[in-house]
Structures are given as structure tokens and as C-alpha cells.
Amino acid sequence: MAVSVKNLKIYYQTLRGQVQAVDNVSFDIKDHEILGMAGESGCGKSTFSNSLVLLKPPMKFMGGRVELDGESLPLADFRKMNEFRYKKISLIPQYAMNALNPTRKIGRMIAELLASRGVSFSKISRELDRRLKLVNLNRSVMKMYPFELSGGMRQRAVMVIATLLDPSLLLADEITSALDVSTQKAVAKMLVQFRDMDLVKSLVFVTHDISILYQIADRVLIMYAGKAVEIAPTKKITKEPLHPYTRLLISSLPDVGVKYSERRLAGIKGRPPGLLNPFPGCRFKERCPVRFEKCDKEPPLAEVSENHQVACWREVGNNG
């Protein structure tokens, strides 16, 4: 088991109270696996990936543990986490296009960054060349400033930088959101290639776009309002989703060959609840079409069939 997350709670401290952005989330990521993490804005998916690399105020660690290769991560200790950052856990950020210092040549920035982490640039230089080739970048970009590259090139450069030290866990946070569809697929394929070549051990691909997860993820974790509501292999979750939220989410995707001028694309009525003092019970109950009395208690994330976990009383109740 490469990564195991148990009861992780990450809240935001605000003046009006604590926002429960990631609340009691547990799941595992296997070696060599790409886990897709999906959900709408504000469901806590980015909070999760940020909490593993850069947990600082107003973000607050409220409990739980995350194990990486058998080692427990000192999430609450910013300094101690530095040993894990980059070397063990790395990030391709949402803002990858602006992630490089605008007034440093990319090569020099990498050299300085590596030196500060005690890695010799000259030793890694050949590997760097190889990886640049992997993402279709010319070696000459090392001698360029970030503003001389296009947005897509910058993002690919960041992909190379993020994976340069072969991290055990790579977090890709909404990296395809700002790209057009054809580039999205290319970037996603590169990530799969990184995994296949063992440049990264496990990958968490955070996105609000489920259709891209079809193409690359082994398993998908659906988040809703700070909770993990369903985890299953990609095929299973797309073919037979169990949680009402997942069902609605997937049915609201457009189908190929259907003209939506004739039929309105179905959405999910309502909005996700505010996470500052959320109501008790299932957080989806107010929008849920199949709600019943039991939903006022919080449903556990339970295994309903092999490799398929759901947090819904309808499903859990069926099994006992």
C-alpha cells in the first residue's frame, strides 16, 4: 500500500468558525495506481492535495493520519514535512503556468532548487534531458525564461520539474482545467506514461472533469462537501454508480450522438451545503432524490462489493 489516508480532517480557520473542507476522509492508494479524485468546486479535493504539500494557515490539521510507504507524515509540522516535500510527495499545481519564477532562466531555477534540496544538478542533468524529451520539450527551454514559453509548454516544464526526484506520490491538481480538450488528452497521456515508466509510484489526479478520468484513472474517488462519498474502479463507477450524487453527476454528462438542443442536459438541483457548521447527517440529503429518515445520521463509507465503497444508507442498509 503506497498511501493510506485515515480519517483525515483538514479545516479552514475563519473568523466565523471552522470550515470543514476535508472531513473524516479515508482511502488507500496502491502502488502504481492512478487515483482520480472528482467533485464539484468546494468539495475539498484541492484542499486535500494542498494539505499534503503545503499545510499552513488558514488551513488547519484537525486529525487523522496519512501514511506514505509505511511512514506516517508529520502533516502538522511544517518544518518536518520539508523532508518529504518534492522527494516523496510532489505537486503539479493548479497554477502550473505561473509556477516558475519569471525572472530566472528555467534551468538555473531548477539547479538552484535542487541545490537547496541537496541534489546535484549535474548528476541529474542527463535524466532531465530524457524527461524533457518525454514531454516534447526541447533542451533549449532550460536556457529560457518562463515568459518565453507558451502556457502549455510551461505546464509541461512544471510536470518535468515536479517529477524530477521520482516522488512516491504525485498530486496533479486540476492540471487539465485550463487546457483545451485536445491538449488535455496529451497531458493526461503523459502522466500515464510517467507512471508506466515508474517515474512516479502513485498519482492522485484531482479534477472536476470526470470524462478525463475515464481515460487515465484506475480508480475514482468522488468527493462531496468535504466527504468521500464513493470509491470504485473507474469502469465500475461509470457503469454502475451507487451513490445518488455519483449517479446524478454521471448522468449529467453529455452523451455522444445526442442532440442537446432537443433535450436539456440534466443537472443536479440545488447547491452544495456551506461547510461552516454543516448540518448533521448525510451532506447530500437536501439534494438527494432518494432521501429517507435514516439520512439524518451520517452514513459510513462502507464496502458494498469488492473494491467498491459507498457512503449511503440506501446501499449500506441493503447489506445489513
Partner: protein
């Protein structure tokens, strides 16, 4: 590159022409007549005064129509002739200004550069250090809000009058004459210190506040955040932030130069420091057109040269400007 500097040079030439023309005009809009003011001091009989005034007006070319005077002004300017000072007659303006340049630059350049460098370093240091920041930020705000002249008076009163540590007037004691001896240099530095300090303190506040804010802004930027996510040490992140925060500070220096020079006028007046600012005040009081023009000319040239130097420096330090020059359109 060449195109960039050609364009800059053209802009500077136009600015120079406009500024010098306005400077020619301003003293002539003042009420009163410089010759009359001069003769007034001699207390001549009215009859003789008229004759003398007529004579001097002719000599200074002030009897000619305005446009003629303007043309004359430019032609002699190209010959390097700024005319004869009326109030320090018969000294030529060029010589009067040349005599005060060392005192002026000797005061201004150290004050501007020291405050800029110290302000930037200290401001960057204080940014994101909560306790220090909480103490020094209000102090800086007081500094920068202080008028130059007011601080100069305060310093002169406390250190000169009350404590008697520093002299409060002149660039050196009247008893000694300028030479390169140690006693003169010490004497000079003693006179130099208070005017320098008053200029330094007021400017320091502004630079430090600017730098502090820029550093905080840069530390919030995405690239800083990403460096942090990759476990880069604070030192490296701050170094990047400092370098990037310096760019607007360099621009700020160019923009502030004019204001600083104006501020120096007040300081020099308070301390009767024989720089261009003090000279300018005297020239205005005696309506000495030629000396006023000369002082303004010096200030205009100084500010333009400094701006040009900063333009060049900017090209060196900011790769975006350097690389953008090829296809620059806007």
C-alpha cells in the same frame, strides 16, 4: 535594443525641450523686474536709476521682445552660455552653478542611494516578521509623511540649538577655506551630517514601506508558493522574492527623483547649505532670471540623466524588458 534606446532618447529630448522652455517662462511670469530690484538696493536718485536700469536691461537683453529673448536663450545655451547672474553680477551663471554642484551632489547622491539601499534591505527584512513589522511599519509611515523642511528644522533645533553637537548652517565654517586637509573634511562632514540625515530619514520610510509591501506580494505569488510546496528553503524563496520586488523599486526611484530634488531645496534652505536648492531660493528672491534658468536646467538635466541610467539598469535586470524589446509595439 538600438530601437528601444533611440525611442527613449527621443522622448528624453522632447522632455528636455519642454522642461527647459517652461523653466525659461516661469521666472518671467513673476511680478516685478529684476533690474529694478537690483538698482533698488543701490538707492540711486530716480533720474539716475532710470538711466542705469535702461543700461542694464540692454546688457542683459531684457529690453527685447519675449520671443527674441527666448531665441537668444536657446542660441546661447547651445554655446554653453547661461548668461550673467544678476544677483551675483558679474559672475557668469555657469560658474555660480559649478561652484555649488559639488556641495549639491555630495549631499543628494549619498542621501538618495543610502536611503534607497537601506530602505530596501530593511523593508525586505521586516516583511513577514510579525513583531518587527508591527514596530517598524508605523515608524516608517511617520518618516515618509514628514515634510523634508519640518524634519530639517526639528533636527537643527535638537542637535544644533539644544544639544549643540552639530552646526546648523553652511557647508563648512566661515573661518576656514575649502582645501583637501583633514580638518576641512571633518568640518565639512560635520556640516553635512544633519542635512543628509533629514533627507535620508524621510526617504527611508517610503522605500522601506514600498519594499515591505512588494515582498509580501511576491511571497504570495504562485511561484513562491510552488517553491514552498517543493520544500525550497525560506532563504531561497526570499531571495527570489527580493530580486523580483526590486524591479518596481527601481522604477520608483526614477519616479521619485524629481520629488527628492524638490525636497532637497527645502532642506538646503533650512541649513543654508550652498547647493543648487539654496542657490535657487536666492535666485528667486532676487528675480535673477538667468540664475533661475541655470538652476532649473541643472535639475532637469540631472533628473533626465538619472532616469536614463535607470532605464539602462532596468534593461539589464529585467529579462522581460530585455526580451520584449524586439517586438515591442505598445
Amino acid at each position: 535594443m538600438g530601437r528601444y534606446f533611440r525611442r527613449k532618447l527621443l522622448i528624453y529630448l522632447l522632455t528636455f525641450f519642454a522642461a527647459v522652455s517652461i523653466n525659461w517662462m516661469i521666472p518671467r511670469l513673476m511680478p516685478g523686474d529684476p533690474i529694478r530690484a537690483l538698482i533698488g538696493r543701490a538707492a540711486l536718485r530716480a533720474e539716475a536709476a532710470d538711466k542705469v536700469a535702461e543700461y542694464f536691461s540692454r546688457i542683459y537683453g531684457l529690453d527685447q521682445p519675449a520671443w527674441r529673448q527666448y531665441v537668444n536663450f536657446w542660441t546661447s545655451l547651445f554655446k554653453g552660455d547661461l548668461g550673467i547672474s544678476i544677483y551675483l553680477s558679474p559672475k557668469p551663471v555657469t560658474q555660480v552653478i559649478r561652484d555649488s554642484i559639488p556641495f549639491d551632489l555630495g549631499l543628494l547622491i549619498p542621501a538618495i542611494l543610502c536611503s534607497w539601499i537601506v530602505g530596501n534591505k530593511f523593508g525586505a527584512f521586516a516583511a513577514r516578521r510579525k513583531r518587527l513589522d508591527g514596530i517598524v511599519l508605523p515608524i516608517w509611515y511617520v518618516f515618509t509623511a514628514t515634510p523634508y523642511m519640518w524634519l530639517a528644522i526639528l533636527l537643527a533645533y535638537v542637535f544644533g540649538v539644544l544639544l549643540g553637537i552639530f552646526p546648523i548652517a553652511g557647508a563648512y565654517s566661515f573661518a576656514i577655506s575649502p582645501s583637501l586637509s583633514i580638518s576641512f573634511i571633518l568640518n565639512y562632514l560635520k556640516h553635512w551630517f544633519l542635512p543628509f540625515l533629514s533627507l535620508f530619514i524621510v526617504q527611508l520610510g517610503g522605500w522601506a514601506i514600498g519594499m515591505r509591501n512588494m515582498i509580501i506580494y511576491e511571497l504570495e505569488a504562485d511561484y513562491s508558493r510552488y517553491m514552498e510546496s517543493l520544500g525550497a528553503p525560506r532563504k531561497l524563496i526570499r531571495r527570489y522574492a527580493f530580486r523580483n520586488a526590486m524591479l518596481p523599486q527601481i522604477t520608483g526611484l526614477a519616479l521619485q527623483l524629481g520629488v527628492i530634488v524638490a525636497g532637497a531645496v527645502g532642506t538646503q534652505v533650512v541649513f543654508s547649505y550652498p547647493g543648487i536648492g539654496y542657490l535657487l531660493l536666492q535666485a528667486v528672491m532676487y528675480k535673477d532670471y538667468f540664475l533661475i534658468q541655470g538652476c532649473f536646467l541643472f535639475i532637469v538635466i540631472g533628473v533626465l540623466i538619472a532616469n536614463f541610467v535607470i532605464d539602462v539598469i532596468y534593461v539589464i535586470v529585467d529579462p522581460r524588458v530585455r526580451h520584449g524589446m524586439g517586438g515591442e509595439t505598445a
